[in-house]
Amino acid sequence: MTAKNISFSTLVTIVMLLIFATMVWMSLSFPVKARLMPMIVGIPGMAFCLIQLGIDLFSGAKAGPHKAHHHVPAEAPAAAANLEVLEAEEELPEFGPHTVRQETVMWGYFVSFIAAILLFGFYISVPIMLAASLRTQAGKSWKFSLLLAVIATAALYLMFGRFLGIQLHEGFVTTWLIRRFEPGAV
């Protein structure tokens, strides 16, 4: 067992073990009938995590970086197997050090998008975030990005606001501002 054996997959296993352990521990405070299912599920879940940890840490075969490949059943013809070999040789791993920057950017975008919806609501966040993403990530022109963003927001409003009559989240800041500055508020 060496530090080299600790892969990203091992970290995921540890996280899962912690989740199961916490949930089982919390279930101890429930009435007997209420904790039956969490126990029946949680204890084997922990056992599977420990088995997986053992496999990860003590087996020589370290889980390598994730590759995009098509598993081919034994019944498939040889031509199919050749396809897999060719793919594996030509492609870089799907994830690795070379993708960390783009992954961080995308996660930053996603979390910002959700935060923007919570604070400013759908109708303000959607056009701004769409235009920003199309411009910065897809490399489209500002004109094209803004046009697409406006069209998408208009479609969103017509579909949900008008046609389905669904009131989307307005955002905490937006609601506060509307209340703050609506006539009679002062």
Partner: protein, 503 residues
């Protein structure tokens, strides 16, 4: 039975509302099928906000039709550019692309689209034929068996979707089961893991969990990779005469079409065996049963027909365990089952005893939806292929808008958006570590029913319910499956022949 069967067909085709919805569903299902990065699971999850307010039949027909025709357009990029849209279409590439290189792309497309549609229809017929056979079997199952069936379903999915990573599959499946216990306990009324957060008392939103597990990780991954499916120029020599000759290849090879459709439907009935298994098995079958196997891989039209009929034929088959046992036949069906639950459809024996009309409507929806899809696609396939040139990074922000909308609209709770971010991190962890994710959905979907069945079984028979004959058969199946899986994973030979490409 006959009256219900044809009454459902009449109800379907005589309703302009439902037929209109089916046309929309077919259109979007075909577009989604050919667009890079959006699979059947995602399209269903994204469509859920739009079925709110619809009645049960309309909503179910809309979603099922969209899901059923998804794969029909997926083969376009496989044939025209040699790039399979997903695992199901990889087998089609072997002979479809060589045909395109020989200037016969239209012939291959005509054959594959027609074969796909016919496969879907035959799959629905196989499902219909199985109903009277299965009815007495379903009625034999008690709550004890339903609890064990839930465990068996998770074991199946864990084994078949993860191949040589059985333990990881089981962890993910049990994680889904564990999350299903969040919320108000149905027996004691105790809020479990919810504390003072009222929005969690109803449990984890299924739509949010599914979107977090599949849509967000896939979108971040797609954006990380960037690019479109195809970077190859489109073939100029496309003719409708050639397309028609391709269509005629299907009746010419009717015996192969029938065999592979039935095989596909049967594979679909086994939970966890995906469309790629059906496609590859039937491709292998076509090679083995051909008098000239040397033509395969060089542009044999049977090599296009066999995988397409099988991969679409499985949709009818996979509806059977989904509706009657609550065990989704595939991860796509798991999402569909979640959507059905939201629409008020409770899978199980009542589908036969009380809602047989809905079952027949869904069967007819498969048939009619596939017919519409074939007609549309034969006309517009050339232009639909253009979608494969769309850059993934343009699509991603739009999909994320859909995801956030679906997540909010599922319960009208803003807190769901925070849950989405947290669960997406876990889902992305699974994707990045190459863990299977399908068992999670099965666990979450079946968890509530499994727990209710467990409590009922304990009340009725105590913990001796394990000793009932059918229970013991199911336990033997679980133990046998697990034993086999562990032997395959850790046995001396440690053979690695996983059968599913989807994670």
């Amino acid at each position: 039975m006959i009256e219900t069967m044809f009454g459902a067909l009449y109800g379907l085709v005589s309703s302009p509302h439902i037929m209109g919805l089916m046309l929309i569903a077919v259109f979007f299902g075909l577009l989604v099928g050919v667009t890079p990065g959006i699979g059947g699971k995602l399209s269903i999850a994204m469509a859920i906000p739009f079925v709110y307010g619809m009645d049960t039949v309309s909503g179910c027909v809309f979603l099922l039709t969209m899901h059923a025709v998804n794969g029909t357009s997926g083969q376009i990029s496989s044939i025209m550019f040699g790039i399979p849209g997903d695992g199901d279409d990889a087998a089609t590439t072997l002979d479809g692309y060589p045909l395109a290189k020989q200037g016969q792309a239209a012939r291959a497309l005509g054959a594959s689209i027609t074969a796909s549609g016919v496969g879907g229809i035959i799959g629905a017929i196989v499902f219909a034929v199985m109903i009277p056979v299965l009815e007495p079997v379903i009625m034999m199952f008690s709550p004890a068996e339903f609890f064990l069936i839930a465990l068996l379903g998770i074991s199946f999915i864990a084994f078949l979707s993860s191949g040589n990573k059985i333990v990881k599959g089981l962890i993910v499946g049990f994680y889904g089961l564990m999350l299903s216990t969040v919320g108000m306990d149905p027996i004691t009324g105790t809020p479990r893991y919810a504390g003072d957060m009222l929005f969690m008392w109803d449990g984890v939103s299924l739509v949010t969990a599914v979107l977090a597990m599949f849509a967000v990780p896939e979108m971040i991954s797609l954006s990380t990779k960037g690019g479109s499916i195809s970077a190859v120029a489109m073939d100029k020599g496309f003719s409708y005469k050639q397309l028609l000759s391709g269509v005629m290849e299907v009746p010419r090879n009717w015996w192969l079409v029938l065999r592979t459709s039935v095989i596909g439907a049967i594979i679909g009935m086994i939970p966890g065996l995906g469309g790629s298994t059906a496609a590859w098995l039937c491709y292998g079958h076509a090679v083995q049963s051909s008098k000239h196997p040397e033509r395969f891989g060089k542009g044999a039209i049977e090599g296009v027909i066999a995988p397409e009929t099988a991969s679409n034929g499985k949709e009818g088959g996979s509806l059977l365990p989904t509706l009657f046992f609550g065990i989704p036949g595939s991860s796509g069906m798991a999402v569909l089952l979640g959507a059905f639950l939201i629409l008020g459809v409770q899978p199980g024996a009542t589908m036969v005893t009380k809602h047989l009309d809905l079952v027949w409507t869904l069967i007819w929806a498969l048939v009619v939806g596939n017919l519409i899809a074939v007609c549309w696609l034969l006309v517009i396939c050339r232009w639909v292929a253009v979608l494969t040139f769309v850059d993934g990074r343009v699509i991603v922000p739009f999909i994320l808008v859909f995801v956030s909308l679906g997540c909010f609209v599922s319960d009208f709770q803003w807190q769901n958006l925070i849950v989405l971010v947290v669960f997406s991190a876990i889902g992305y962890g699974f994707l990045r570590a190459d863990w299977p994710r399908a068992p999670f959905v099965i666990g979450l979907v079946l968890g509530g029913k499994a727990e209710a069945s467990l409590h009922q079984a304990v009340q009725l028979w105590g913990f001796q319910f394990f000793l009932r004959p059918i229970s013991m058969v199911l336990i033997a199946m679980i133990v046998g499956l697990m034993g086999y899986a562990f032997y395959k994973n850790f046995g001396p030979a440690r053979r690695q022949t996983p059968v599913e490409t989807s994670r």
